[in-house]
Symmetry: C2
Subunit: 201 residues, 2 copies
């Protein structure tokens, strides 16, 4: 009768897995999600290549797991604090304030993990690109929804296209990220903050 004795995972293995994935998310913002190599990742955290590899069935699985790890970090640092704000407009402002903080604090050394991945994977094919595209759509949909809520609450002018507003807000964040990383100059983040706050006035 179905002797499916599912063995439990060991805590040290789970700790290793988290360590691998956090390092992978960081290195991916420098070398790219594809440019990241298993050997250098193993060296970076002091593990053997085969020991690291055993946690995943393929490099693609490692990449997919890395994306989910980065997503959890973004949720904790950016999305969840924004959801705690009182009004839709405050949620929007907090979302982008926390987003720009998360870039400036170099949570990932190469800026926003997802901005990097979107640029890198734009023309690729496969599950990794599909997941990144899906998450980008989800982010835009969230912003667009908040804009609509703010309009319904009378906090933003109701005659503007929410999709257009969401596009512009995201553009400021994206450009702030790229400029800040490329020139190591927070001036770009100041421009982004200024543009966002002016747009949400």
């Amino acid at each position: 009768m179905a002797a499916t004795a599912e063995r439990r995972r060991r805590p040290d293995g789970e700790r290793s897995r988290q360590k691998i994935l956090r390092a992978a998310a960081s290195l991916a913002t420098i070398d790219g999600l594809d440019g990241l190599s298993i050997g250098s990742l193993a060296d970076h955290i002091g593990m053997s290549k085969s020991g690291l590899y055993a946690h995943f069935r393929s490099k693609e699985q490692l990449q997919l797991a890395t994306i989910e790890t980065a997503l959890a970090i973004l949720d904790t640092l950016v999305v969840e604090p924004a959801e705690a704000a009182a009004t839709p407009l405050e949620r929007l402002r907090t979302l982008y304030d926390r987003f720009l903080d998360y870039i400036e604090e170099r949570v990932f050394p190469g800026g926003c993990f997802f901005a990097s991945a979107e640029s890198e994977l734009g023309m690729r094919e496969g599950r990794v690109k599909d997941r990144i595209a899906e998450l980008q759509r989800g982010w835009v949909a969230r912003v667009e929804g908040l804009v609509q809520e703010a309009q319904a609450a009378g906090e933003l002018p109701a005659d503007e296209d929410p999709a257009q507003v969401a596009f512009e807000l995201d553009a400021y964040g994206m450009m702030g990220n790229v400029g800040f990383v490329l020139h190591d100059d927070p001036e770009y983040l100041r421009h982004a903050r200024s543009a966002i706050h002016h747009r949400l006035r």
Copy 2:
């Protein structure tokens, strides 16, 4: 008497070189400037790896030459048409109109060559990254200068920070590019055009 017999290049060699560099610029927008490999590039244009390599002293030299080739294409398709316009404001509008055309027409399969390179090389080091950063600064300086000229001509409100306006214009272009490539959806370019034209009103 300096017998510096400068040996001339042969035209067939120059043709090959151009063919290589144009293909390299295209492939770099898919696989990245670093991800591009000499072997696959050689296969792609039907040449041997060593025959291709002989045109350059190293991969870095190939990358640097590829950047200059992409720059010449951008200049021809975007910058020069803009400079032909009558007023500063018209030059600004033409610059971004041609820029978005150049993305939409898929001059490079992965969108704007320089947008890709900026995102990829943000945290790298070396001459390739330095050149990309230099060109990005040059582009922003050009836009900022045009904004100042337009203000001096009374075509744009004089109470705005030119650097801020340039940041926002560039943000629209950048986001339009990334979204268009990632989702293969011209909606992002429409948003970019709308935002830019509204900003230059």
